[in-house]
């Protein structure tokens, strides 16, 4: 049964890591604009023609 406590602790730590990542991503402004990065990645970088 001891092993279950250990597993639970590990799972909780993993969950806490994700929570921290979430808080960090909100604070760094990743949710401010959810539209343009999604569109931007679909646009091809066009090679500049002889400039």
């Amino acid at each position: 049964m001891k092993i279950i406590i250990l597993l639970i602790l590990i799972s909780l730590i993993v969950a806490l890591v994700f929570l921290w990542l979430f808080v960090w991503s909100v604070k760094s402004g990743q949710y401010e604009d959810t539209d343009s990065p999604a569109i931007r990645m679909l646009m091809d970088e066009k090679k500049k023609s002889g400039k």
Binding site: M1, I8, L12, V23, K27, E32, S36, I39, S49
Partner: protein
């Protein structure tokens, strides 16, 4: 009948009608769109059209001198986010960003101007951040480039938007933490759900873990409920947050005692679920539209700087620094920033911005020009008589209506309910506990806390935010933007509709033109149309649209005399078009509208009667609205239209003409003293009235253009849909009340269990989310269903 294929502009999608702007077999509605297309093509940027068909914006009101103030370095440095000699960084608001093509084009700006290093779009906020080298390019030329492309930025000196951003972030973080704790406490409550006995050695640790996990929920995430409950108490009000706060506290205290004394597993899962769901509800309620600005002050309308003439030298000066006695120059299409005396011989001033009246006024030397007027034609010089802060318009704005924040109504439906709800629950809890005290004293405390837990009005609190939030979303997709859900609740109590006339129920583009006089032959019509085409005056444009002729002919000796009319010759046809005096025709009594007189080859032919046209579907809309509302009409114009208006509005409508902005404000106040009202207006002249009414709806023909301070913004073409919109808003009250009844039923069942002393953690963990989620589902589906026919 010949069926003509409808031709849409390749750039912006407008109808091309009879334009002759064609480039490479593509049609364009105007020269502007064609120019943008050619500009894009020249720079090899036509991929723009691959992302979306007809993505372009029509060019609105850009004119050559508009951004001269950006030559002033002082202003530029106020606007910049970062400044060094080699590098400038700026963020511009561009309301007309609307699709993926916009992102693509605006992020490729460096291909137009090599001085631009990088440009980045924030799509949802409609902002463009630009890095550029000031040595190679200037802000003014960048802004003008943006205007040419149809992305006119909105430049004002007030910056106050950063505040709500951090607030929004905090809310998301709270939501994240509550959700996290909710999930994990549920996991640790599993043994309890499955009935694994407390004998297993590890189960007790779960209780402690849950207790620790719940601490941030209690102290951080649930903060706002406690604060709001406390504020309510201090005002001697039992708002909905009070029973919620009691419920959360009861849950936490009882669970902690159970865990610490090892008598049970507690209700931590229910507690975090409750907070999580309530926070979602709040978030839904507070969602506002970042791209639309509902609050504006007069400063957003005025130019930032004008040319000041000092000792014969012109210098761009900040408007705020101008003083009485200064001499300024205002050019074509620029707005006069303060009350002044005209120093030039004559000027044509368009006050449509202030009064909504579309006819330009002629001002002679020595006469007064009021702030907010737009100069038409040649540049004029003016002597300032009053600094900006003392001008007529600013005085309106400095009226107490604008300085005092509105008192938030305490009449929200939910708070009304909770004033009865909370005492009832407390009474039930106390009575049940005291009864149990005699039956089984040990259980009394259990029953008391169970009642408080089960009665916690989670479902009740969610009904209204989800209904109104869903409604807000539905309406905004139909171009009716409402500031927040409180406004919807205010609409429920209104019984009076106040309309502004010009610009609100009339549409400047939609003129009704009638010709009275000797019939014209085709040649004359053609020549006349060609003549009108040369002028940008709204009256000549209206005549041109009315004639709707084919191929235009050349006009010789074209002359436009400000405030008088037009002259020109085609072949043997000599045309004079303009005021009665100008063509030598004295006035013939009162005309119903404004008249333009016509003279051909020296003989008088007749006149065109131009009346403002009303918006399509207005009469049907009023017909439907009169079941619910009484009407008042306020107009800055004369009463020439009274008889036509009486055909549209019911006979008992009060009509007030010749209203100044101040009069409108006073009229609204006197109406408000009796019944809550909705003011529907446009233009700066209605700003006071919009603010003073319970609900101010501003009408805008172009959502990205300026609208005065208001509670809601409605697209002009949707005005006729207003009855349908109001129907669904009023219906939402029924939806919420039904949801209240459903949640009361849940509460009744739960309370019965609690009073009997049968509440277990599993029961609480099941009942609370089921009641909340079913109520949320019900209201969301009900709103969708009642909005199904909305177009």
């Amino acid at each position: 009948m010949e069926l003509l294929e409808e031709v849409k502009c390749y750039h912006c999608g407008e109808d091309c009608e009879d334009s002759q702007h064609i480039s490479e077999e593509k049609s364009f509605c105007c020269l502007g769109c064609k120019t943008v297309y050619e500009l894009l093509q020249e720079n090899d940027l036509c991929e723009y059209y691959d992302f979306q068909s007809t993505p372009g914006n029509t060019l609105q009101n850009f004119y050559a001198n508009k951004y001269n103030f950006l030559e002033n370095e002082e202003i530029v440095s106020k606007l910049l986010d970062f400044e060094s000699p080699e590098f400038h960084k700026i963020t511009l608001d561009i309301p007309s960003i609307h699709c993926s093509s916009c992102i693509w084009l605006l992020e490729n700006l460096q291909r137009f101007d090599s001085g631009i290093i990088q440009s980045r779009i924030q799509f949802s906020a409609k902002k463009l951040s630009l890095d550029y080298r000031p040595a190679e390019t200037q802000l003014k030329s960048i802004v003008e480039l943006l205007c040419q492309l149809g992305y006119e930025p909105e430049i004002t000196l007030d910056t106050q938007q950063s505040k709500d951003k951090s607030w929004n972030r905090e809310r998301i973080i709270k939501l994240g933490i509550a959700g996290f704790v909710f999930g994990n406490t549920m996991l640790f409550s599993f043994p309890e759900y499955l009935g694994i006995s407390l004998e297993s050695e590890f189960v007790e640790y779960f209780g402690y873990l849950n207790l620790i996990l719940s601490l941030p929920v209690l102290f951080y995430c649930a903060q706002e409920f406690f604060i709001s409950a406390y504020k309510g108490l201090r005002k001697k009000l039992l708002n909905i947050d009070f029973p919620i706060a009691i419920g959360i506290l009861a849950l936490f205290i009882r669970s902690s005692i159970e865990v610490l004394t090892q008598t049970g597993a507690g209700y931590f899962d229910s507690m975090s679920a409750l907070v999580f769901l309530l926070l979602i509800g709040r978030w839904f309620q507070d969602k506002t539209y970042r791209e639309l600005s509902f609050e504006r002050n007069y400063k957003s309308y005025f130019p930032l700087a004008v040319y000041q003439i000092k000792n014969g030298v012109k210098k761009s000066t900040l408007v705020e620094e101008l003083e009485a006695g200064d001499k300024i120059e205002i050019r074509n299409e620029e707005i006069v920033p303060c009350d002044a005396i005209l120093n030039s011989p004559v000027a044509s001033i368009d006050y449509s911005f202030v009064t909504g009246e579309s006819k330009a006024v002629e001002v002679k030397e020595g006469e007064k020009v009021f702030a907010g007027g737009r100069v038409k034609g040649t540049a004029v010089t003016l002597n300032i008589i009053q600094a900006v802060s003392n001008s007529y318009l600013t005085q309106l704005w400095n009226n107490e209506v604008f300085s005092k924040p509105r008192i938030e109504s305490q009449q929200q439906l939910i708070n009304k309910v909770s004033t009865y709800f909370t005492p009832t629950i407390l009474a039930i809890a106390i009575v049940a506990a005291s009864v149990w005290f005699y039956i089984d004293a040990d259980k009394a405390w259990n029953v008391f806390s169970s009642v408080l837990i089960i009665a916690c009005p989670c479902a009740l609190a969610l009904a209204s935010p989800f209904t109104l939030g869903a409604l807000l979303n539905v309406l905004s997709s139909k171009k009716f933007y409402i500031k927040n859900t409180d406004i919807l609740e205010k609409i429920w109590s209104t019984q009076h509709l106040v309309f502004d006339k010009t610009g609100t129920i009339t549409q400047s583009k939609n003129h009704a033109v009638e010709y009275h006089g000797i019939a014209l032959d085709e040649k004359e019509k053609l020549a006349l149309a060609s003549l009108c085409h040369q002028s940008t005056h709204p009256m000549s444009q209206a005549v041109y649209d009315h004639l709707n002729s084919g191929e235009l002919v050349d006009i010789a000796n074209f002359k436009e005399l400000k405030g008088k009319g037009l002259t020109g010759t085609n072949a043997s046809i000599n045309i004079k078009l303009g005021s009665g005096k100008f063509v030598g025709k004295e006035s013939e009594g009162k005309l119903n509208g404004s008249a333009v007189h016509l003279q051909i080859n020296g003989s008088y032919k007749g006149h065109f009667l131009i009346r403002s046209g009303y918006r399509k579907g207005l009469d049907q809309a009023i017909g439907k609205l009169k079941k619910r509302f009484a009407f008042t009409l306020l107009s800055g114009d004369n009463d020439a239209e009274r008889s036509r208006l009486l055909k549209i509005f019911p006979a008992e409508t009060k009509m007030h003409f010749h209203q100044s902005p101040m009069d409108k404000l006073e009229e609204i106040r006197s109406i408000e003293a009796n019944t809550p009202s909705i003011m529907i207006g446009d233009g700066l002249n209605d700003a006071g009235a919009l603010k003073a009414s319970s609900v101010g709806i501003s009408i805008s023909d172009n959502l990205s253009s300026f609208t005065p301070a208001s509670d809601a913004i409605l697209l002009g073409t949707k005005l006729s849909k207003l009855p349908e919109y109001f129907d669904i808003i009023f219906r939402s009250k029924t939806i919420i009340i039904t949801a209240f009844i459903i949640s009361f039923l849940y509460n009744a069942v739960g309370l019965a269990f609690a009073v009997m002393g049968w509440v277990t953690p599993v029961f609480a963990a099941l009942l609370m989310p089921i009641s909340s989620i079913s109520v949320v589902l019900f209201v969301t589906l009900a709103v969708r269903w009642s909005a199904r026919n909305l177009s």
